[in-house]
């Protein structure tokens, strides 16, 4: 998937603002707060709504010109309730399979198989009206993959689910990509969900791209450094501050922020400070960032930059 200056405005409200991003074919998480533009991006990629400006391609096809061909190859599980209540799960999923072009008998067979895979077995002959939130989410997932798509969009798939149901749903999503070979594009505001099931993350905030990259790379790079020295930690913190490096004490350890000086220079500065204070260095290790750290640091970084730009502009 690629987007170029993709913009969607609803009157004066800009839901997506000149988004430029290239997303590889893998398990991708779309992360952002509520109202960040996640659902808008999914609807634009599916051709459910038209962009105000900009272009997007998916599976090598233009989302405006090849909408029908794209939709044949993707599945969609919306965030909101979208199931008819007075139909059985088996009938509805079979109907959606037929809507995707499967013959009636094959659709029925395929619906039964997929419902079994998502954990709706005997219950599939019950009316959807009587289903719990978790069961409904499974049926929504089943209809999204019943036509064996190459890619499935899952919009807030764990929304409203209890911890056990959420865990089950995340395991299901992992199975979909590993066992069925379907690439997933998961939209969520829950960092743990994305961290657990995705390889790649796209972060958006107030309609703008914050960062996009492999989760491993993002979590590895730029982590703080944890230093432990014998002696006075305060002196060490002051010595680092004199070099323009911010740090703070945390128990017996000193956490050195990585954002002032990068790479080897930071390690050199810590080494020099230890030498100058003449204290024993007990440990020195990088702290791996969580996705939450990445999100907060990047979003706050963008916000600071915008604030600075606004101040300079004034």
């Amino acid at each position: 998937m690629t987007t170029q200056s993709l913009t969607k405005a609803y009157g004066p409200v800009v839901a997506l603002d000149a988004l430029d991003v290239a997303i590889p074919r893998s398990s991708v998480g779309l992360l952002g707060a509520n109202g960040a533009g996640k659902s808008t991006l999914i609807k634009l990629l599916l051709g459910l709504i038209a962009p105000s400006s900009g272009t997007a391609t998916m599976l090598g096809m233009d989302v405006r010109g090849d909408t029908a061909r794209i939709r044949e190859r993707v599945g969609y599980m919306p965030e909101s309730d979208c199931l008819p209540l007075d139909v059985t799960a088996a009938d509805f999923v079979a109907h959606m399979a037929e809507m995707s072009g499967l013959p009636a008998r094959a659709a029925r067979q395929r619906a039964n198989d997929v419902l079994y895979q998502v954990g709706v077995d005997e219950e599939r002959y019950r009316l959807i009206r009587g289903f719990s939130t978790g069961m409904k989410q499974r049926v929504k997932l089943a209809q999204a993959i019943v036509h064996d798509p190459e890619l499935v969009f899952l919009d807030e798939p764990t929304n409203g689910m209890d911890p056990q149901g959420r865990d089950d749903m995340l395991r299901l999503i992992q199975r979909i990509q590993r066992e069925l070979g379907i690439a997933v594009f998961v939209s969520s505001h829950l960092l743990e969900d994305i961290e657990r099931v995705c390889d790649h993350v796209v972060m958006v905030d107030r309609g703008k791209l914050v960062i996009s990259g492999r989760i491993d790379d993002l979590m590895r790079g730029g982590g703080d450094i944890i230093v432990r020295v014998d002696g006075d930690a305060t002196a060490m913190i002051e010595r680092l501050a004199a070099r323009g490096i911010s740090s703070r004490a945390s128990g017996l350890e000193i956490i050195v922020a990585s954002n002032a000086v990068s790479g080897d220079m930071l390690y050199d500065a810590i080494r020099d400070a230890v030498v100058e204070l003449d204290v024993p260095l007990r440990s020195l290790r990088g702290r791996e960032r969580s996705l939450e750290d990445v999100y907060i640091q990047t979003v706050s970084g963008v916000a600071d930059a915008e604030e600075l730009a606004a101040t300079v502009g004034n």
């Binding site: 609803y10 599916l46 459910l48 709504i49 038209a50 909408t67 029908a68 061909r69 939709r71 044949e72 993707v74 599945g75 969609y76 919306p78 909101s80 309730d81 979208c82 199931l83 008819p84 209540l85 007075d86 139909v87 059985t88 009938d91 109907h95 959606m96 037929e98 809507m99 995707s100 072009g101 009636a104 209809q143």
Partner: protein, 267 residues
């Protein structure tokens, strides 16, 4: 689209739904076909000693179609919108226009069974009781043409009004109520105004009286505007058939525009 047509027909008939959903279609089919079956039975027993005209059945058919369209049109559109199923349909290779066409086809098929069925049954009965059925059949092929024109026009008329209303509310009961109440109110209002106004222009009140337009169509095709039981508004309006057909097509076009605005604008 074919899958959606079949699915919509099944839902319209209450198939694979609770038994209560099947009651309305069953009653309406009985109401539409029983008179035709009785007439066919009488013809079979007494032969050509008695003659039934198609217009004798039209009253039953028009009333039944009014109720059927009022019940069916919301069934076609309201649930999908209220339950947000549209987002799933449109994530498939199905355009909004495809969706609407599928719903209109499903509605037309179901309405057609009532609009054509009883009249074709009567035509078949007449053919079978004739002295020379083959000759009768060829001599009265125009009757089939008139039945098809009549059925198509009144089905399109009621379906268009029903779908136009159903496109703007998510509640089936409200859509049904507005449809039946609106048709009855407009018919009563037109007739009341006709009685109150003393001018030649009052004949045009026919165009705002839905049931009288439908009645006029059946009289144009099968009956006589000057018959003893004909409503005075219909008799005095004495509209040419082509004008009546034009009025129906105008209503269909307006309803089509309403649905276009409701569904084909993208958000």
């Amino acid at each position: 689209m074919r899958a959606l047509v079949i699915y919509s027909i099944k839902r319209g008939l209450g198939i694979k739904k609770k038994w209560t959903a099947k009651i309305t279609p069953i009653i309406l089919y009985i109401a539409a076909f029983v008179p035709a079956v009785i007439v066919a039975g009488i013809l079979a027993f007494v032969g050509d000693q008695v003659d039934f005209d198609y217009d004798d059945l039209c009253n039953f058919i028009e009333f039944t179609l009014l109720i059927y369209a009022a019940a069916l049109a919301p069934e076609m559109l309201c649930d999908d919108r209220r339950e947000n199923v549209l987002s799933l349909y449109f994530s498939r290779a199905l355009t909004r226009l495809d969706y609407l066409i599928a719903k209109v086809i499903a509605m037309a098929i179901l309405m057609g069974t009532i609009a054509f069925g009883p009249l074709l049954l009567l035509w078949g009965a007449k053919v079978l009781q004739a002295q020379d059925p083959i000759a009768y059949m060829f001599d009265h092929l125009t009757d089939v043409g008139r039945i098809l024109v009549y059925g198509t026009l009144i089905s399109a008329f009621f379906a268009a009004i029903g779908l136009g209303i159903a496109a703007y509310t998510n509640r089936k009961g409200i859509a049904t109520g507005i449809f039946i109440g609106g048709v009855i109110f407009m018919t009563a209002l037109a007739n009341a105004l006709f009685s109150a106004i003393d001018s030649d222009a009052r004949r045009f009140l026919l165009f705002v009286s839905p049931m009288d337009i439908v009645r006029s169509l059946s009289l144009w095709l099968f009956g006589d505007f000057n018959g003893p039981d004909v409503n005075i508004l219909i008799r005095e309006a004495d509209m040419p058939g082509i004008t009546l057909a034009g009025a129906v097509l105008f209503v269909v076009a307006i309803a089509g525009l309403i649905m276009y605005r409701r569904y084909l604008t993208e958000e």
